[in-house]
Symmetry: C2
C-alpha cells in the first residue's frame, strides 16, 4: 500500500490532520473554521455521548434544552464572562434576506435589523441563569441538576479539526445549589465523572487538578480540569468543571428562601466536555498506520474479512462469517462483516487498520475446514490463529485486554514523559523534550505570564492532593510550597 | 384542587399553552420565539429520538453532523429554496464584540464584519449538497444515507410552544441516489417510517399523502407528508419526506459516473420531523386534567405513591413500594417511586395526572397487609384494586392496553371528524365543525389559494392510494377525478 498518512516522526500535525480526514472522522467545511463530522467520526462521538449521558443520569442529572441565541445584554451582565467571550462571538444582527432592487442577488434586508443583537451561544451560563431565576424560589427547588447537549460557537482564528473549531458539539452541565459546600462537592463529583470516563472508556490516563487564576473559566471562582498527555508530549485539557460561586446568581438576581426563611443568592457549577475529546482520543492511541480505538468506543469492535478465490469459496466463508457475527453479537460484541466482493482483502485490511477497528477476523476456506480463524489485534498488530470453539469468549477477553493495554501504554508514556525541573535550564530542556514538567512557581499571575512568554508553556494545573514541598520558583527564585505542572498544550 | 388548566371547551389555545407550561414541558425564553425545553419535556423528546434513531439505523442510515452556518451564496443557489427561506433567516454579520469607546457598554465591533454573511441553518440541503460534491464520484459511493440531529432556526413571526418556534430541534435525513426510482423509493420508505412511528409509538393515526404544489417544500419535486387530526378538529402536519429530484445536485454540481461510465447528476431526498411532534402528542391525547402520555414515550410509565400517616407506616409502605419498583424494572417498566414526605398523596395524584404518567400505583398500610395495590389508569381515569401476585405481568399488560386504547380513541375521533362535502355550503359547514373534509378540487393552485383565502382551509394532502372518483370542484365546479383532504391546520 502507498503511504496514506504522514508519519508522526516527520510531521505530527500533518499526521493528525491526514488521519482525521483519511479515517473518515471529519472534514473541513466551506464555512471557515466549521467542520463536518463524518458518519464514522460521529458514530464514535455517539458512543461517547451514550456513556457520558448514562453517567450524568446515574449521578442524578436530567437533560434540557436552552436557546441557541443569547441577547447581547445577557452576555454583558457578568463582567469576567463578557471579557472572556466578547472577542470570539458570532453575532446575529438581522432576521431576513431579500432580493436586491439593483439585481445584485440576495442581500440582507436592512429593514429587518434586530433591536438587540443576538450572540450565538459560546456557552450558556447567562441564558440559563436568566431562566433559573423563574425556576428557583425556595430551598425545595434545589439542587437543580441539569445538563444540555448542544452546539456552541467560538470564533477561533486558528482552527484544527476537533481540537479547535468555530462550532463544536458539547455537553454543558449547569447546576444550582443552596450552599457553597454542595456546589463545590458537585464540581468535584463531575470532575471525577470525567476522569472516570477518560480512563475507563477512552483509555486515557488523566491528572485531576485545579487551574490557576490565569487559566480559569471566565466567570468562575475555581476551574477544575482533567489534563492528558498526547504522544508528541503536548498536554490537552480534556474536560473542565467550574465552581461559579454566586457570580451568575448575582448577575441575574437568582435568590432563594432557605429553611431559615432567609434569602440568599444561589450557588452554581458548570462543567463540560466537547468533540475536542475526539482529538484527545486520536492523539493518545493512534499510530502511523491510522486510528487505534479503545473497544468500548469503537462503532465496530470486530470486523470479519472473508478470504476467497472462487464464487463457491465466497459463499462458504461468508456463511461462516455470518455465523461468527451472529454468535459474537449474542455476546454483545459490535461486529461488521465486510462481504463486499468489489474490494480485495488487502485493501480491506488497510482500511480497517486506518479506521482503528480493535480486532480483525480473517476467515478463508482452509480456516472453515480446520475450524479456525485468524485474529489480528489493532493495538499490537499481532496475529494469531484461534480455534472456533469458544471463539466468542476469547474475543470478549481480547477486547478487554486491548482496552486495558491501551490505557497501560498511555499511562507508561505519560510516566516516561513526566519530569521534575529545579533550575531554569533544566526546565527549558525538559519542556523541549516534551511532557509534563513539575516545577515550583511563586504563585503570581505575572510569573506565570512571563514563563508563558518565554517558553510557550502554561501551568496545566495544580494537581489535587498535591504534596506540599518547600522550593523556589523556577523563574523568580521566590519561595514556593508546592510544584505545579507545566507543559506546552493544545 | 384549584383548576390548573383552562378547559379545552372554553379556550383550546389557552388550555394547550397552560398544559405545556404547567406540566413542565417547555417555557418561553427571554429570546423572542425561542423556547426552553424543560427536563420533563426533554425526557419525552429523548424517548422519541431513541425510537426514531433506531428506526433510521434499521433502514441503513448513519448519523453525521454538518455546520450550523450556511454562507448566503449557498442558500441562494437553488431558486425555489431561497425564495422559500429568505424571509425568515437569522443572519450572522459580525464575529466580535468590543467595549464602546464612549462608555455605552459592549457593542458589535464594526471592524469584525464578515465578508459574506452566514445564515443560521433553516434546513441543511445546501451545505450538505455542497459537501456531497466531494464525497460522491461514482455509483459505488451511492446511495449515501445520512441523517443529522440538529437545531434549526426559522424566524417565525407568530410562535407557539413546540408548534412553531424560531429555533427548534429536529432530525433531517439527506440521501443521495443513482436513480430517480431509488430516490422515490427512499422518500416513500421514510414516509412509512414516520407513519409507523406516529402510530405505534405516539399512538397517533396519520394519513399518508402527497402535498400540492402550493404546499411543497421549497426546492422539492414532490413532498410527501403524514397528517394528523387534533382534538379541536384542526390538522397538523407531523412529518414530511421530500423527493428533491436533481435540483440540489444541479445547484451544487454533484455528478457521479454510472456503471456505464456516463456522468449524471445525483438524485436526492430529504425528510424530517421536529419537536413539533411534541405539540401533536399533547393535542392528540391530553384532557382537561393535563397531559396523557402513551406508555412507549412516557419517561416514567408507572409512579408509585405511598399512603401513610405515621413514620412507621411510611417505612412499611415505602419498603413495599421499593420492592414493587424493583420487580417492575425487572420487567423493563420505567418506574418512579415518589417517597417525598414533604407532599401529600392528593398533591402527588394531581401532579402525576397533570404530567400524564400512564399508571399510578397507590399503596397504603392496609394494601400491604392485604397484599394488594390500587392501580389508576391515566387514560380512562379508572381505578382498580389488584392483587400483588403477578403484578408485574398485569402492569405490562395494562401499559399495552393503554397504548392501544389511546390509538383507538384517536382513530375514532378522526373517523367521527372526517366528512365529505359536495357543495360549497356543505364544505363551509363541515370546515366550521372541524376535521378533515374530503372534497373535489380542480387541480389548480389558483383555486387552492382562493379556497384558502375564503375559508382559511388548505389542502392537507392527496392521500396515497386515493380512489379515483368523478366529481366537480367544490369552488369552481370544474371536473375533478379525485377528492383531496381539506382542513384548517396548525
Amino acid at each position: 500500500m502507498s503511504k496514506v498518512l504522514a508519519s508522526r516522526e516527520e510531521n505530527y500535525a500533518q499526521w493528525y490532520n491526514d488521519l482525521v480526514i483519511k479515517a473518515d472522522l471529519a472534514d473541513n467545511s466551506a464555512v471557515r473554521g466549521c467542520m463536518v463530522i463524518k458518519p464514522y467520526g460521529y458514530a464514535i462521538w455517539e458512543k461517547m455521548q451514550q456513556a457520558l449521558d448514562q453517567m450524568f443520569k446515574d449521578t442524578g442529572h436530567v437533560n434540557a434544552y436552552f436557546p441557541l441565541f443569547i441577547p447581547k445584554s445577557f452576555l454583558s451582565k457578568e463582567a469576567a464572562h463578557i471579557e472572556g467571550f466578547a472577542k470570539e462571538c458570532a453575532v446575529v444582527t438581522h432576521y431576513r434576506l431579500k432580493n436586491d432592487e439593483n439585481g445584485k442577488g440576495v442581500i440582507v434586508d436592512p429593514a429587518a435589523k434586530l433591536e438587540e443583537e443576538l450572540i450565538v451561544r459560546p456557552t450558556s451560563e447567562t441564558i440559563i441563569w436568566n431562566t433559573y431565576r423563574d425556576w428557583i424560589q425556595s430551598y425545595r427547588d434545589l439542587p437543580l441538576l441539569i445538563n444540555q447537549w448542544a452546539n456552541v460557537v467560538r470564533w477561533e482564528m486558528r482552527t484544527r479539526l476537533f481540537l479547535r473549531t468555530a462550532e463544536f458539539l458539547w455537553q454543558e452541565g449547569h447546576t444550582a445549589h443552596a450552599t457553597a459546600e454542595e456546589a463545590v462537592e458537585e464540581t468535584r463529583r463531575m470532575l471525577d465523572v470525567y476522569a472516570d470516563f477518560a480512563e475507563n472508556f477512552m483509555a486515557i490516563p488523566v491528572i485531576k487538578g485545579v487551574k490557576t487564576a490565569n487559566e480559569r473559566f471566565a466567570g468562575a471562582v475555581d476551574t477544575y480540569c482533567i489534563e492528558a498527555l498526547m504522544q508528541d508530549g503536548k498536554a490537552l485539557q480534556a474536560g473542565t468543571s467550574h465552581f461559579l460561586g454566586q457570580n451568575f446568581a448575582k448577575a441575574f438576581e437568582v435568590k432563594f428562601t432557605g429553611k431559615d426563611g432567609k434569602q440568599d443568592y444561589v450557588w452554581a457549577t458548570s462543567w463540560g466536555v466537547s468533540t475536542r475529546l475526539m482529538g484527545a482520543l486520536i492523539m493518545t492511541h493512534s499510530d502511523d498506520k491510522g486510528l487505534v480505538l479503545p473497544p468500548k468506543l469503537a462503532p465496530f469492535q470486530v470486523v470479519i474479512v472473508p478470504i476467497y478465490r472462487s464464487d463457491e469459496e465466497y459463499q462458504t466463508v461468508c456463511d461462516a462469517g455470518r455465523a461468527i457475527k451472529k454468535e459474537l453479537e449474542r455476546f454483545g460484541v459490535r461486529v461488521k462483516l465486510d462481504d463486499r466482493d468489489t474490494h480485495k482483502p488487502g485493501f480491506k485490511f488497510n482500511e480497517y487498520e486506518l479506521r482503528g477497528v480493535p480486532l480483525r477476523i480473517a476467515i478463508g476456506p482452509r480456516d472453515v475446514a480446520n475450524g479456525t480463524v485468524e485474529v489480528a489485534r489493532r493495538d499490537t498488530l499481532e496475529k494469531e490463529v484461534l480455534q472456533m470453539a469458544d471463539l466468542s469468549n476469547k474475543v470478549v477477553h481480547l477486547l478487554e485486554q486491548i482496552q486495558q493495554n491501551l490505557y497501560t501504554k498511555a499511562l507508561s508514556h505519560r510516566e516516561q514523559n513526566t519530569h521534575k525541573a529545579d533550575h531554569w535550564d533544566e526546565f527549558i530542556q525538559k519542556l523541549d523534550i516534551g511532557g509534563f514538567v513539575y516545577a515550583h512557581w511563586d504563585g503570581t499571575s505575572e510569573t506565570e505570564e512571563k514563563i508563558k512568554d518565554l517558553t510557550k508553556a502554561t501551568i496545566r494545573c495544580i494537581p489535587l492532593g498535591n504534596p506540599s514541598e518547600e522550593g523556589r520558583c523556577i523563574l523568580t527564585g521566590k519561595p514556593s510550597t508546592q510544584r505545579v505542572i507545566f507543559a506546552r498544550a493544545y
